[in-house]
Point group: C2
Chain length 437, copies 2
């Protein structure tokens, strides 16, 4: 059974605060181990990668077999059934169409002082995507990471993915090919992140690393942040559903379970103004759980982290949603559009009962790499902007320098930075002499 | 004397690589100390802040005096001479005008499947700016951090600034007022970052922390990253100048020194196709150094980290500039515009000999908080985007769900996520029954 809360209960504020701040993941302290792994890769390059891959992935590699060959990728792609290939192609096309609209524009203008100002966007030269192995090896995530990079114009795009025992999901390789990835290395863990950040004899360093991973990968990304760019430190996934009683409890039960089946530390929350509807959804969840393949995982998530919150009205629901700042927000209510406008902190909003989150996970178009653990308060899902950077531009004319240069001199002097001031006044002196002469 | 390099020299590649990768800052290992400071603030709140401020800033505070009062700020603002006030006002106005153009647009469209897609931008609710004390307490940096936050629409904007011995720069308080900062706390160091991230009895937590600081502040920002958003980990500042022989060596000498006077670990590099002009600039630097107030700092920076590189042509210059990925790039050459277009990795470009970097530090309009230490390869200067986040929107119609839902089902099945697939198929079953009925 999940937790049942009601904003009317005297203990609600504390219970809700607890729900919000409760840690769903253990903080494995892997930082020291990760520091050592990074140092090893920096010191010994390929040799370190090969040793670690043999030890942890039980796979013997050579510098020549660190990357999948074209023939291996061809073979894997040929294995993929036509229906899966068509579905991946549709997903890739829709993700590309959505993200193409995100490309920002360069600007250049002349202001009243005569100064020419502006900015210009450009892509990072090289990006590396981390793709987890095993259960969490999702071809959809390959598309979601790689396509924005390609749309942005990244020139060299590589993947690192562990292949424990040599096993690989052929759909991952097909997704990499559809997304235009250049090279896929069969290396995982903190050592892969180190190789992407610092380079080895075989793996060229990249400028930006994105993609989810376990505690080792997360710690390694945090460590190399600054040397390269990283996307975010992903936590367990979560969904919040706002729903009125006009919905089919079974649909919402499936949506809650779709989140719960990811991971025992995932979190599914339903907020509804109708307590009876909330109980009906809870009952539907129990019925569905009985037959679900992943019932052990989904059941644990729902029991330990799930919640159904009864509110007095939508105002309360919106206020709670903004405090939760959910990664995924489904709004299944007559006033769904109006409610969507009032929720300010959410990674992605799915509007209306016909938009289950699973659509967004695969084929909707928006990115499914989204801020978790309340970080939608200050961050956004992955986008082409993550693979771009902006250079600001400024060009002074004589008129502009005469208009604004003296203020720069004044401020430089007030900050005690004499050469700053002189660099302006030397130019102003010449301009003034030219005017006088 | 700075280092003289020539791309023609046989040792050039190694010398340049060394210039690029040489560490200019010692890595003070303050992480353990910072971890303890954060834990103290989390555990004991205001009491910890007050004790640490007494110990390190020799200043006795109470919860009531943690923040500057309105009267104190009024008094400080009244102290500022009219010329400084006018210069700050001009700077604020120009920075606001530039950053206002950065506000991105919301989008919403219907695609061919009938799916309604889009995104919406919103501001973080609260932001905290760190303003260093002592020599590096720059009112211009207050404007550069606070104005983009206000333009973005941040509701609550606070500053933490150490005031060693109780001393404060009145221009900092005036800049805070001009930029619309709500509260200024006289707390600094890692403890200020902890208070902003986790909150105390007096200081409410914020969602985003920006601003430069010493090694303790940088380590604390890295530690709280994820709990709150941070801007970047700033390193020592740097300038690269590309210049032809038609320039006045004295102007460029002052530009190199303006960078060098910031900090002994700052770096100033000149690249020119004319070796004789390079020597003339070096001589001008020596002449200017003799009389500069901050000659000890500027001289150390120039001697230890400065460089003059002679290239065969502009192609070489552009290639080197892209490898350096400078924070600031000045281009003083007849073909300045064309060269600016070819440099892809730079935080800010100052085009033409009449645009010294000092203009950009104060009154140009673009932000002066820029990526250092080659991070312009993957990151941008501070902007309104740092105080905004994007929520993606999706709404399926019956037609859209029928068009793309089956592909989602297929991919969910291939990833072994049954409830994901069922959440789509339950809806499709109803739609199909309705069509049939």
């Amino acid at each position: 059974m999940p937790q049942f809360l009601d904003t009317n209960d005297p203990g609600f504020a504390d219970e809700f605060a607890d729900l919000l701040t409760r840690k769903r993941e253990s903080d494995a302290d892997v930082d020291a181990a990760v520091q050592e792994i990074i140092a090893e890769v920096v010191a010994r390059g390929d040799a370190a990668l090969i040793e670690m891959t043999a030890r942890w992935d039980r796979l013997e590699l050579t510098p020549e077999t660190l990357a999948f060959s074209k023939a291996e990728i061809d073979a894997a792609c040929a294995e993929v059934p036509a229906a899966e290939r068509a579905a991946l192609e549709l997903a890739a096309e829709r993700i590309r169409a959505y993200h193409s609209r995100q490309m920002p524009e360069d600007r250049r203008w002349t202001d009243l002082s005569g100064a020419e100002l502006g900015w210009r966007w450009s892509a990072v030269s090289a990006a590396g995507l981390y793709v987890p192995g095993g259960l969490a090896s999702y071809p959809s995530s390959v598309l979601m990471n790689a396509i924005p990079a390609r749309v942005a114009g990244v020139e060299r795009l590589v993947i690192c993915a562990p292949t424990p025992g040599g096993r690989v999901n052929p759909l991952v390789l097909l997704a990499a090919r559809l997304a235009g990835v250049d090279t896929v290395y069969r290396v995982g863990g903190a050592q892969a992140v180190a190789a992407l950040a610092f380079g080895t004899e075989t793996i060229e360093p990249v400028d930006k690393i994105t993609g989810p991973g376990n505690a080792f990968v997360a710690a390694a990304k945090r460590r190399v942040f600054g040397k390269v760019g990283i996307d975010m430190i992903a936590g367990p996934s979560e969904v919040l559903i706002l729903a009125d009683a006009a919905n089919d409890p079974d649909w919402l039960a499936l949506d809650l379970l779709a989140q719960a089946e990811h991971d025992a530390s995932a979190q599914s929350i339903l907020i509804t103004p109708d307590a009876g509807f909330g109980r009906a959804v809870a009952a539907a969840v129990e019925r569905r759980l009985e037959t679900l393949e992943r019932r052990a995982i989904a059941g644990a998530s729902w029991r330990d982290h799930g919640a159904i919150v009864t509110v007095a009205d939508w105002d309360e629901a919106v206020a709670l949603a903004n405090r939760i700042a959910p990664e995924h927000l489904e709004i299944c209510a007559a006033e769904a559009e109006a409610l969507a406008e009032r929720v300010r902190h959410a990674g992605a909003i799915f509007i209306g009962a016909l938009t289950p989150e699973a659509i967004g996970d695969y084929v909707g178009g928006p990115n499914h790499v989204l801020p978790t653990a309340r970080s939608a308060r200050f961050s956004s899902g992955l986008s082409v902007l993550d693979f771009l950077k902006r250079t600001t531009l400024a060009r002074m004319t004589p008129a502009a320098l005469r208009a604004i240069g003296p203020a720069a001199e004044t401020l430089a002097r007030s900050e005690g930075l004499e050469a700053h001031g002189l660099s302006v006044s030397a130019r102003l002196a010449r301009l003034n002499a030219e005017m006088a002469g």
